[in-house]
Symmetry: C2
Subunit: 203 residues, 2 copies
DNA sequence: GTCTATAACCCGATAGAC
DNA sequence: GTCTATCGGGTTATAGAC
């Protein structure tokens, strides 16, 4: 095999794998781990039944890879924004808007993350990955809230609980946005962030 | 058959049905509709495999009955509190605390409601029931927010969007409480309701 | 009313041809 | 690399004995 052929083959392999992952994200998101059949995935990807096993060892394997992508993406977004410049409030607002924009286009990953945290049927490895990244993400959020309190922008409260409150609210709102996609300009980001900042005269 | 026997039989039937519904709530909540096997339910209820079909026509049937209970309970709680006495803020606070108390003891129904709204594998009838009650519940919440605005307690904003915001936040927080049951006094109800009320001097 | 046994079907994963 | 055919195991629902 010449290098030329090798390279072409690699491109085909990458393309097929991506095809299967995208199909998997859609059907796992819509139907859950147990409710998804291999035939659903290959049907969505328009590939034959057997071919999926040339790219993944098992159904569990596909799910784990998708869950990992979901959690890493979320974690990296949080880390980058918290480490970036701007006041704590500006960063919190930027993070919120970034997450809304992201989930609007790839809601399936949100649903996969949700399942990984609620269903006992998902592969144990996916649940372990979730726990790991959830903990790390919470640490970054905690730091953001602590900074906001030190600088006087945020109200005083246990920073970890504020971080939990923030992620709770975000989950709830993203979920509603997925349920009612026709709702535009929901929610007002400034409004939901009022929970965390000091009261001030209304204009 | 004497009436005496009939009555005893009816008691047995009711008890078994309740047993199966409770087992079903647990395993459907934990494993999802597709991930739950009949053997999981009867195993949890400690009854034999075949017996479940003397009480329910099908697996779908059990799920529909559980989903109906979940949505009706939620709807009735909202309706009763909104119709009760007290200022809008007092009613909103009472509703929030009531829902937290309720989901703390029967979180499985929350998970069943969640799945019914996100998974395409659940029986279509359950999804229809969800939509119906969600719409009705939203109307009552909308009314509560409109009253709060008219009386000057709540900030001005589209009452329907405030109702959506409230239910989003509640979903997110209940979810977090299920994920971290060891967290006590999370969240501070007064804090989350700050979103909806006018800013005022902090004590 | 309760149980065990089984029918009828479907799924994940593999084998092997092209 | 891609496909069809098939194996082995497991699932819902029913039948029939006690």
């Amino acid at each position: 095999m010449s290098p030329r052929i090798d390279e072409q083959n690699q491109q085909i392999r990458d393309a097929r794998k991506q095809q299967l992952l995208e199909a998997g994200a859609k059907v796992f998101g819509e139907r859950g781990y147990a409710g998804t059949k291999i035939s659903d995935i290959v049907g969505e990807a328009k590939l034959s039944h057997g071919l999926i096993y040339h790219y993944f060892a098992s159904k569990e394997d596909i799910y784990i890879e998708l869950a990992r992508t979901a959690f890493i993406t979320s974690y990296e977004t949080i880390r980058e924004v918290v480490e970036s410049g701007g006041s704590p409030y500006e960063r919190l607002k930027a993070l919120t808007e970034g997450i809304f924009a992201h989930t609007a286009e790839s809601g399936y990953f949100f649903l996969i993350a949700l399942q990984t945290n609620t269903s006992k049927t998902v592969p144990a490895e996916a649940t372990a990955i979730s726990r790991e990244y959830a903990q790390q993400s919470m640490r970054w959020l905690e730091r953001l809230f602590r900074e906001g309190q030190e600088q006087g922008e945020f109200i005083d409260a246990d920073p970890l609980k504020q971080a939990l409150m923030y992620s709770s609210m975000l989950n709830g709102v993203v979920f509603t946005r997925l349920t009612y996609p026709e709702l535009e300009d929901f929610p007002q980001v400034d409004q939901i962030l009022r929970i965390f900042v000091h009261a001030r005269a209304e204009e």
